[in-house]
Amino acid sequence: MKITILEQNGNSLRFVLSGVSAPFANAIRRIIMAEVPTMAIDDVMMFENTSAMFDEMITHRLGLVPLTTDLDTYLLPEECDCESEFGCNNCRVSFTLDVKAEAELKMVYSGDLIPENADVSPAVKKIPIVRLANNQRLKLEAYARLGKGLEHAKWQPVSASTYKFMPIVEIDTKKCDGCGDCVKYCPKNVFSIEKLKPVVQNEINCTLCMECIRHCPIEPSPIKISHDKKTFIFYIESTGSMPASKLVKEAVKILERKTQSVIEQYKKVK
């Protein structure tokens, strides 16, 4: 098994994983999307809402705001001992929001949510919630808890969790006539011309669209496009709840925990 990081900036991560089967890579992808816990607002106590949007719509929008998550400090409500409907300090964080528009129009942003604990706060501060006109006021208290993407999309920690196979692009230069059409029609600039013949300069960007073969005047084409079935190029883009690398680590930890749980139960029942 080999892992190479291609690109890592803040919330997004691109890496190559080779030497594993497709179901393993897919399990990682699925767990990142649906089973890594994230913080999101789930309950709202509305004190005053004189805005143009009704209560349920505003709370729905607040639920979708991505919050920075600290998995070590908080527990999933089903794992917390408190067993209370509203949660305790271990499984719930609260926010307050109190915005009033004076003479001019005022936009309520996600940054106006004041957290009780600065570790769990809106990941992006400029998400517009609702616009307030003269003398309109929005005053509420919101409670966030950990949850999984399986339950509701607001708990999905990624905006993109995907992989593709590693492309293999080969050109048989002896059969090639150097027309340059593959260079012209490739949407990803995989080819370039060197010494009158095309060369593969950017194999990893190939999307296997086969436009180069389609436009190639020679049949069968000297260009061969295939993919490596055991090498995966992952692209993970977090919404801001956790850095992408942490998401991948948590996902595989969850996979390991699931397998251990199956082993333990199997040993008991066997």
């Binding site: 089967s21 690398s245 595989v252 390991e256 082993i263």
Partner: protein
């Protein structure tokens, strides 16, 4: 997640994983098929919304089925741990 053994004969077994879905089901099926002692392995979700996959495995004549399932799960667990070790090293670089 609740595991139930639905059917167990000498060389075949049907296991239900209540609370799981394709994530584990497909992974376990594929790893079972790579085992040399397995004659047949498959998984199915009787209803797509029910999240109760059933894994079916059958070993070659004369081989015990219980150990093969445990062996397969341990392979998956080992692969996951290997990933974590390699990934942590790669991110630190």
């Amino acid at each position: 997640m609740v595991l139930r053994i639905i059917k167990k004969e000498k060389n075949e077994m049907k296991i239900e994983l209540d609370g799981e879905d394709h994530t584990l089901g497909n992974l376990i099926q594929h790893t079972l098929l790579m085992d040399k002692d397995i004659e047949f392995a498959g998984y199915d979700l009787p209803h797509p919304l029910s999240r109760k996959p059933i894994i079916y495995l059958r070993t070659k004549k004369g081989l015990k089925v219980e150990n093969v399932f445990k062996r397969t799960l341990e392979k998956v667990s080992k692969q996951a741990n290997e990933f974590l070790a390699n990934f942590s090293k790669a991110v630190e670089k």
